[in-house]
Symmetry: D2
Subunit: 310 residues, 4 copies
């Protein structure tokens, strides 16, 4: 596969997708994110042999936001097992916006429908075990540093503070979960952890690496190091297909067909099983919170190089 | 009118209604309330000349709970005016349970539909002005003490603490309001104030007095002292009809027809315009949170003495 | 009271309200209604002694639309009794638009919340007994003719046909009711009856008469003839307060305070207990389906002549 | 692959799954379906070379029910193209039961979220072109006969009539779609077509064949005959993953991971890309409408023979 995609070709695809950066808007509700230049677009592709192709704004650092939901889920599953986790959060896509609170009230169990919506990810943050909040943060951070070979990955404090100070809807979700007994840990501390996960700063190269580990079912193909069980990788890839792109996941599955997870900072981490991990950054978002040009770029790649899993 | 209702008759009505105390359950979600004996029933009727008839458990003290929503609304209207208040909370009944959060998301303005549901009353608590939280509490407390001639009325600290420690759904509502810009004051402080209003302790005699003031459009008929403008009394009586009995208000309006406000501690404050104020206490509640025997008692009184306003 | 309101004064109030006719729009979804001149406004007031004051477009004929929901409910209650009727339709205001279908699915009983929303009124139409559909229509029509002393009242065939051909949302409601077992009669026939009730044509004088009968608890004060029991009148007046003005009923109760029922053709029938019936016609509607200038006119009358019941 | 699965092994898996037939109930709301023996279980697996393995109740004929939604979508896409179809029906999973009407009202476009829920499939039925209703039925029927090599496939008239006479919720959905302009054809005729599609009678062998065609991207591997474009096969397989098992699709994707579509008669058609088509029949359903033992059987097969796509 790798041979079939050259740096020149990747640059050409990026150039085509660039035209879409003015079709959306940067996330406005987190002041720090609102400062981003909407015209940016960057992509990195990581192959099983560890080589990487990149194009566009590859060195810009941005925060994971919802992409972190995959990694907190991985740690939660490793620490607690499927039974514990899925008794507190469901496996179903919702059709509702990521910050919707309605189904928490209407669903009898009051269980968030899946761990990719905010309510579900907050519930997952509550399951991460550790001696203190720093330790609970580091469980995710350490794994990401190892997966990417980038020990410099850390929380962007400005975004974290910005997030924390504007996250009242998330507080509403968390207190609802607390009321329902889904969340049993301290609410403000759990939210704090959740905001830190969201504020982990990366580049497209980093998330291409992470995507490649998922594509390889949890191992670093180069070293053979296993970061999490195959079963956990499988669960994550499935959630990426059914719920990874907010309430546009179904459309993305049909139009692009690659397991992917987006974040409102403009990142998308995608994985083509056994073939590649892809990191995209384009902060101009569509109505549902996904990178407009990023989706376009992945659609072009998928079509041309037949990357879809369906 | 007064002549037509004797203490013996009131006792007879109470005896009839007593049979209904075992049709419901005491509120379980606030531990302090869960301790109440469900078999209790008490009633006081206050007439324009200040005389009073009582029967049953008249000396038991219980907390206002949602009945306080009327009095915080009165203070909010007096301090801020209708325009300010109704820009932040609506005037419509909802058809939903008192602690529902759904319409906060589905209604475009995110405005609570009315001040008698929890979301609306929390928004109202946020509008009460004062130098500090004690001062803001006292605005309501002082008025109630004067209205009832009972300077001993105060907050039940045990209930207040119990409420505060089990109020996570209310926290979810408050944070949602904060996120929507409806609530602009500190959330935890506003909730604290709201819980204290709910925990004000009274007897049926006290709320019969309060009901009589509402029945007299805001004045103490004996002394002529005005507690709040006629216009404010009118607004409260209207809300008592359209939203006073949670999502059983429509049924109560048809079956009983007296402006009334209930609380989950089992109290109901009713007012028959220009004729009487009625206080009822019966902690055994129906599914919607209203005193089962209390409703029965008011229905019997209304039918026999033609107290309905329709 | 009558002495206090003169024709000149009524004309002055109407003149003031006229300015509001351009604040709304005529109902667009029924083609026949869309043809109305939005600048029209007419009012009639009927007193217990049978005298009447009128101003503005008093001779224009318009269709009852939702005002008919009061009269089909009256017949249904007279024919079936409260128990039968209220087992199939509730007594609660909803907070939702008149044609909403959501609560039919979310409420466990699948029972329409009240008989003033479309779903509830269709359920009520299904309860009207008669030998055939004409007979079932005439039960309502005959009563209206007698109440108004106007034997010419009949269905506007053009509106009826227009309604029937554009009523697909009502069909959805009716089939949902059929599915839930609430509606047990033939769906298309029941809808046909419902559309005919809606298409009964009247003038403001006619509905002022009807309002006066309700104000007099079911009798023609002049002749003493009783059209329906006092109990039924009481139920209707209560519904007019809690649900009569669609999901603006709560606001109208506070701002105007007169039991009233509106229709999307622009009519409002109001009744001031024991004092007057009021008919208004102003086809320019607000967002919720109520006559903009009609509400203004009633608000002015209520304020100046203290007509509110609260 | 084929070599790895023997008839003995398939029988063993079926025997294990049989224990689950008493964990559910046969569909009660369609009288003809309610007659089925819940203890039945059958499975057929069809391989690319046309060979087939079967076990259990392989000769029982049952109706496609929702499995037909895949094939009407195929015809609709072939006749109208993606643009036309997806302007009228979405691509998103819903999280709601298959017959829910709520989102039709709450989603701004009033578009059914996907073609696998009833509302969406009724909209799709409205898009099938043909000279008359028989012709429109035959477009699907003819394709199924060719795909399976079974010219005897036809509509079960008893089920069709049973369905038609108990389908009032579907009528509500269809009229809502008509009202929103999504459905532009005659409602009763479109429903009639929809019910006939649902009532097409098959055996597990037939649906294993159909599943194999989907697994082969639209062709009969033996003859090379193409039934529909690869692109259409891809779309269908994606919908099978995101929405194929009603509001348990997310769970099935994680636990089993095979593109599949279930029906309330107890059938499940599954396809393992390029490897096999699987037909299952087990009329005992779980709460969400999926065959309990059928899901178990597929889960066992998937785990043991690594059939999951994730």
């Amino acid at each position: 596969m790798k041979e079939a995609l050259t740096g020149t070709q990747l640059q050409a695809v990026l150039n085509q997708a660039l035209a879409y950066t003015d079709k959306g808007k940067v996330a406005a509700y987190i002041p720090e994110l609102a400062k981003e230049d909407p015209g940016q677009l960057g992509v990195s592709v990581c192959f099983p042999d560890g080589t990487m192709l990149s194009a566009g704004n590859v060195d810009v650092r941005f925060t994971l936001q919802s992409i972190s939901k995959i990694f907190s889920l991985i740690i939660a599953l490793c620490q607690n097992g499927q039974k514990h986790v899925f008794e507190r959060v469901g496996k179903e896509p919702t059709g509702d916006p990521f910050n919707s609170i309605i189904k928490l009230e209407t669903i009898k169990s009051h269980k968030p429908l899946n761990p990719m919506i905010n309510a579900g990810a907050i519930a997952v943050a509550g399951m991460i075990q550790g001696e203190n909040i720093d330790d609970r943060l580091n469980r995710v951070l350490d794994m990401l540093r190892k997966m990417t070979g980038n020990p410099a990955i850390c929380v962007n404090e400005a975004v974290y503070c910005s997030e924390k100070s504007t996250a009242d809807r998330n507080r509403a979700l968390a207190w609802f979960l607390k009321d329902s007994g889904i969340l049993t840990t301290d609410v403000e501390e759990t939210l704090d952890l959740y905001f830190r996960y969201c504020s982990i700063e990366v580049s497209v190269k980093d998330i291409a690496h992470m995507g490649m580990v998922l594509a390889a079912d949890g191992i670093d193909v180069q070293t053979g190091e296993r970061f999490f069980p195959e079963e956990v990788a499988r669960i994550c890839k499935t959630f990426m297909v059914t719920c990874g792109m907010y309430n546009a996941s179904g459309e993305f599955a049909i139009d692009v067909g690659i397991p992917a997870k987006s974040g409102v900072a403009g990142g998308i981490m995608a994985c083509v099983p056994h073939r590649m991990g892809i990191g995209v950054f384009g902060p101009s978002l569509d109505e549902k919170g996904n990178s407009v040009a990023g989706i376009k770029l992945l659609a072009l790649l998928s079509k041309e190089w037949k990357l879809g899993i369906f």
